[in-house]
Amino acid sequence: MKNMNGKNIDYKEVLSKLGPLLALVLVSIALSLGTEQFMTVGNITNIMRQASINSLIAAGMMMVILTGGIDLSVGSITAFAACVMGVMIKNGIMNPVLLIAAGFGSGTFVGYINGILLTKLRLPHPFISTIGTRNIFRGLALLITAASPISGFPKAVQYPGTGDIVFGIPVSFIIVIVMYLGIHIFLNKTALGRHIYAVGGNKEAARLSGLNVNKILVIVYAICGFMCAFAALVMVGRLNTAFPLAGSTSDMDAIASCIIGGVSFLGGKGTIWGTLIGSLLITVLRNGLNLIGASADMQLVVIGLVIIVAVYVDVLRARAEAKSKRLAAKR
């Protein structure tokens, strides 16, 4: 981590902020010592593949949480975007460009609707509006597919989900890295990105500073929908099938990734890299627990504990920070 002035790097702070990364490294070391399969090229590739769908959704969720909001409809959006593509191939449209465009278009559009519900209808909290759309989009996905999975996607559409690049690095994970880099630049180097932090930090101050807060919110929810569509593309590619019931736990996984990665639920604080680490940590844990033969029930318990511990560590950190501030003020 570099300090903008190039001086006074507080190592304690760096360490505490790197907490989730440290946890990821420790868990990985433990698993590679405890199991033979963990540190194999095949397994690492597998983890990357498994992590990519959640990472893409979590990235969208991260920006939403950054504004102080939440999007509970991400799983449904993902399924809906996948099913739109599925319905198209069922009707004989096999042009990959058209399919991908339709996927992105539908995902972004329903995300945009989430934003409109929040800002134009002024529903009190996105928790409520997106619980509504969570049901609506899932229902639509089931409706247009007559509730049955659709298979048989063209090769080009499958590529993002199945392809490998050198050393067996999956294309889907390359996509994650590229998108995360892009979001990092977007959030830190563009005016809109900075405005997202400001809106999350203090909505009223941002509004009175002349920012069009509603526009910013709509854009953020639309981007979240776009990221879900990306996840949908990877998903249909990987399984060669569009499932209307896919992604039913995506919302909670995405939220958990953000929380573990240190994104503040109150908005205004958090980094995209934290989110990536959170997402990877969840995936590595699942993978590792699978390798050591833990049951699915056990996995739920462990992941739940990790979320609670992560937040607790964050609470402790904030308290220590507040205390050192008080001490500094006293001097």
Binding site: N5, A191, R194, G201, K269
Partner: protein
């Protein structure tokens, strides 16, 4: 003479930077209505809070019926039979009148369940005693403000209050509601309840009170029977704040008109406001807290919708329907509350300073960090913001430095019309002067300032022209240099409808 219910002797209460109450003594009796008046910041609220146990005085004694006491907290005050009805009513809107009245002291049946039958009956009787016919089963939010206040009074009666403090009880009531309230208060008095009646309305003081006390700058000025006073005499006693502070006022040559407001109205908040603003001038808005000044400028800035009115910028009509449009039209609003409306506290000074002007730093699609860094360093130097660096969080700065960040943020936006709402609230004297100097700098560039201030000395010290507001209307316009440009005449306009 009978023994006072409570006697306050030499009460002093200090807050960082101000002495809110200085050696104040006052006797309050049962069965007497005692009016308390004073300018904004005279110490009325602090006085109330000492009686209700919110604040503990540093010096002085409280003697209740002859016994020295210490009021620990609000609950303790109620146990001592001292109650208060705040301007912001403390009720739970969704609950019924009965539930609110008996909150915390509900009547129960033998079975342990609540005895609503008896409670409703009792509530109805208590309200009737005050001459009120209110259905106690209604949720309180369904009642008008006047009736809500009656419920508050009943709440106090059920707790056997002997001294009832009423903090500007009539500020949000209609005329008929005020009459009802006056009747109810007189009934309380006849039952031996003492009342401390804090009001901004002199007519009510004369109509209702037996005695009146004037505070000024935390000091007790005078107490006496109302019959000894006139409007003029009360106002005369309220003013007279000494100008202890030097104001670095520079009078610039007035330029052409930059802003004109016609007929601005937001129903029930302000009405038919007309004024114009010229380049190079500070237009001060004086008036009591709640006169509608902040609401008016929020309307001008597009932060709240207006119901009627037109706005002209440089002679051209504009529709400022949102803060975004206001900023585009080169308005700047420095809000009264820096923490909740002016700053993103958890963000760095740098982020706060550039929030209004990120477009300036675009290099293609992206932001130019080195350009931002330079601009912000320049800001910090020229505004003399005391901070370890641009990455320090806004919440870690002192009040004065926070205010400089807010000023800086708007200077960066290239605004031309600066609206300062209480520009120096809560900052120390040295920082105040720096803020005034910044104002001079703004005027020097041919820009204009609207300044709302509740400190008369600040209004007189910095304004070129003063508009006084009362109850949502402008009651006076006074130019610097005019004979009326003094504390007393401004106070007249803000307290007394008939004065000017």
């Amino acid at each position: 003479m009978t023994q006072p219910f409570i006697k306050l002797e030499n009460i002093t209460k200090k807050f960082p930077g101000v002495v809110a109450l200085n050696n104040v003594s006052l006797d309050l009796f049962q069965g007497e209505i005692h009016g308390l008046i004073g300018e904004n910041g005279a110490g009325k609220s602090t006085f109330i809070k000492i009686l209700t146990g919110v604040h503990t005085p540093e010096k002085g004694k409280l003697i209740l019926k002859g016994n020295p006491i210490k009021i620990e907290n609000t609950k303790h005050a109620i146990d001592l039979e001292i109650g208060c009805i705040y301007q912001e009513l403390n009720n739970i809107p969704q609950l019924s009148v009965t539930d609110n009245i008996f909150l915390g002291c509900q009547l129960k049946k033998r079975s342990g369940l609540l005895d609503y039958e008896t409670m409703h009956k009792k509530a109805r009787e208590l309200l009737k005693d005050l001459g009120q016919d209110i259905d106690p089963t209604l949720p309180i939010e369904k009642l008008g403000m006047g009736h809500q206040q009656m419920v508050e009074i009943v709440k106090a009666i059920t707790k056997d209050i002997k001294l009832l403090i009423m903090d500007e009880p009539t500020s949000s009531l209609s005329e008929t509601e005020v009459n009802e309230l006056v009747k109810a208060v007189r009934k309380l008095k006849s039952r031996g309840v003492g009342i401390l009646f804090v009001s901004h309305k002199l007519e009510e003081i004369f109509e209702l009170c037996d005695k009146v006390t004037v505070f000024r700058d935390g000091q007790h000025v005078i107490t006496g029977p109302v019959t000894d006073f006139t409007n003029d005499l009360l106002i005369h006693n309220m003013v007279g704040r000494e100008i202890t502070q030097q104001f670095p006022k520079i009078e610039f040559k007035k330029g052409e008109e930059i802003l004109r407001v016609e007929n601005f109205t937001r129903y029930g908040v302000y009405q038919k406001i007309n004024f114009s603003l010229s380049r190079g001038e500070i237009l001060g808005f004086s008036g009591l807290v709640g006169a509608g000044r902040t609401e008016l400028i929020r309307g001008i800035f597009g932060a709240d919708p207006i119901d009627e009115g037109k706005l002209y910028l440089n002679g051209k009509e504009e529709n400022i329907y949102s803060p975004e449009v206001a900023v585009r039209n080169r308005f700047a609003l420095l809000t009264e509350d820096r923490k909740t409306q002016g700053l993103v506290l958890g963000a760095s000074i740098l982020s706060n300073l550039i929030i209004t002007c990120l477009w300036k730093f675009k290099k293609g699609l992206f932001l130019d960090d080195s350009k931002i860094g330079k601009a912000v360093d320049h800001n910090i130097k020229s505004l003399q913001i005391k901070t370890p660096g641009p990455d320090t969080l806004a919440e870690q700065l002192s009040g004065g430095n926070q205010q400089k960040v807010v000023v800086g943020k708007w200077l960066n936006s290239d605004a031309e019309i600066y609206i300062f709402d209480e520009p120096t609230r809560g900052i120390d004297v040295g920082a105040k002067v720096e803020v005034y100097n910044l104002m001079n700098k703004i005027l020097e560039q041919g820009k204009a300032i609207i300044m709302i201030s509740s400190e008369l000395t600040e209004i007189l010290g910095m304004s070129d022209r003063v508009l006084v507001m009362r109850n949502g209307s402008i009651t006076a316009e006074i130019k610097r240099g005019n004979k009326q440009f003094n504390q007393e005449d401004i106070m007249h306009a803000s307290w007394d409808d008939s004065a000017i």
